[in-house]
């Protein structure tokens, strides 16, 4: 409840509920168990929802909604808030009528029921999924006055399923097999070519997220998960895997998900989500509400492995100080960083810069633009800047 610029919507406080008074809820009974046998958040948290940017797409059915990163803590994204991206709407598929076929350059083509797949030994891993268009609206200039819209095509869950390698062994990949076509069962029949190398390294076929079955928006009952790679390759409602000797060059790896360079040529198979980071507090939705002690907090992630270090700048990148990593630091998962400091109205230009275990240093916007221009749409992982006003309000600016 702040009345500052950019602050949360102010709420009337009923002083009858403050000490020394006994509040209303201390004088009555609440609802009993299994009143909501599958629970939901407090009625006072109704603002914590996925949101879309309506002018981005022609229709909500082939569109995207973003995770409210500004309201989240830790590294797990609760399932109800995991960002959505799909091209034919969310299909409602009964578990019993879903099938996965593996065929092509294999010794024995196989058809699996969900029950079959769940008999394989399962693995559970915490991994982020990010749309490669995350931040893409900001290639040509700052556009979005909200963390949810600048970075919200990003979520992180504990996923459970079977390594694709195990399923491929069951089918027996022929020596000529080098690529895999993954295809969805929804109306868009989304398809992507995945190199066999990735499939054998760490690709999973998953049926659960954060303990429970996949949400419909996340591919119920089955999806692919390519850890660290652009979300689009992690095909949802997965129904078919064909092994081939060459990539397929389908619409989602030619017309889309290729990165146009200034010379008019385009990059293809740009799979990895490179090292990225952003400060989540403060941010436009979370202005600084009081002078004095302040924890600057944020998230960092890398599609190439673990985060090794995050640095913070208060002056738009002129000088940097190391932040601390806190909590679990896992491979290809969101990682929290923190820096404890004081604020007394300084007009900061706040930035974070992540470094992963390969030594890759998150680039500046200028460095990215110098190489890639302004039309590549995808993979914008440059250092992000929040401008702190003397009243604690935060705005999105770009520094070049």
């Amino acid at each position: 409840a702040t009345t500052m610029a950019g602050g949360a919507i102010a709420k009337e406080v009923n002083t009858a509920n403050l000490p020394p008074n006994e509040p209303a809820w201390g004088k009555q009974l609440g609802h009993g168990v299994v009143e909501n046998p599958y629970g939901h958040p407090s009625e006072y948290e109704k603002h914590v929802v996925r949101r879309t940017v309506p002018w981005l797409t022609a229709d909500s059915i082939a569109s995207i909604s973003m995770t409210p990163l500004q309201d989240l803590k830790g590294i797990i994204t609760p399932n109800g808030l995991v960002f959505e991206r799909y091209h034919g709407g969310v299909p409602q598929i009964p578990m019993e009528e879903h099938r996965l076929i593996i065929h092509g350059l294999v010794e024995r083509p196989i058809i699996f029921t969900m029950e079959d797949l769940m008999r394989f030994p399962s693995v559970s891993q915490i991994k982020f999924i990010e749309c490669p268009a995350n931040g893409g609206m900001e290639w040509k200039g700052a556009q979005m006055e909200a963390l949810q819209f600048t970075h919200g095509m990003l979520s992180c869950c504990e996923w459970t399923g079977v390594p694709l390698k195990v399923l491929l062994e069951e089918a027996g990949v022929k020596p000529e097999g080098k690529w895999i076509l993954a295809e969805g069962a929804d109306g868009s029949h989304m398809s992507r070519s995945i190199p066999l190398e990735k499939a054998l390294e760490d690709t999973l076929v998953v049926y659960a997220q954060n303990g429970e079955r996949l949400r419909p928006e996340q591919g119920y009952p089955l999806r692919l998960l390519n850890p660290g790679w652009e979300g689009n390759t992690s095909i949802k409602w997965l129904r078919r895997l064909e092994v081939g000797d060459k990539p397929w060059y389908h619409r989602e790896e030619t017309s889309k998900y290729t990165d146009l360079m200034p010379d008019g040529r385009a990059r293809k198979f740009t799979f990895v989500q490179e090292t990225n980071s952003v400060i989540t507090s403060p941010c436009p939705e979370n202005p600084i509400v009081k002078s004095g002690f302040l924890e600057i907090e944020g998230i960092a992630w890398s599609g190439r492995g673990r985060i090794k270090q995050v640095d913070i700048s208060f002056d738009g990148g002129v000088s940097w100080v190391p932040a601390n990593l806190k909590g679990l630091v896992l491979d290809k998962a969101l990682t929290r960083f923190s820096l404890v400091t004081k604020w007394d109205g300084q007009p900061w230009l706040l930035q974070s810069r992540a470094i992963d275990e390969t030594g890759y240093v998150q680039p500046t916007l200028k460095q990215l633009r110098d190489v890639r221009g302004g039309n590549s749409i995808y993979h914008k992982n440059s250092i992000h800047t929040w401008k702190v006003a003397p009243n604690g309000g935060i705005t999105n600016v770009q520094i070049t």
Binding site: G187, L260, A266, F269, V318
Partner: protein
Amino acid sequence: EKLGIGATASAEEIAGWDIDIRPDGKGLPKGQGSVEEGEALYEQFCSTCHGLFGEGEGRWPVLAGGQDTLTEERPTKTVGSYWPYASTLYDYIRRAMPFTAPRSLSDEQVYHITAYVLYLNEIVEEDFVLDQDSLATIKMPNQDGFFVDPRPDVQNTRCMKNCADPKQLHIAGTLRGITPVGHFVEGADAPAASHEAQMEQESLK
């Protein structure tokens, strides 16, 4: 070691789902299509969204034109200006179009419409006949326009002090009015619960 889980998939089962096409023509079904027959089908099933000439109605995707715009400030990426392989067009129409009725066209219809969209892009002549053999021979204008991901392409270093000249920093804010901010600007409306409602809310501003 195999665990013996799952049944062997029959050729018939696979055939029904094996819808993908590759640049070399692998996957293309029997049949053929003509620009002429494609025109009528396109106008019936596609033009309401993509326009009579592939120019795109309203905010729906543009399918034709845009040649030589890839280096411009606002490039128009279409089948003709951007797509490297004609096979992708057959594959995509078959798997996903028309948008509201995916998988509703026959293989033959897809041949006709593909021929017509290629024609709209001036890639084939109006008497062209598209089939299993001819499709793979089409050389698309931007076929050589793609190269494999060279990243990491920028090498930042972990500079800690005097990393930039504070006087040279150019700071640019956002354009106003395009961020949906109803949910956190004081006094503004609560967030819309649906795409449509949010569009409406924006339009009321």
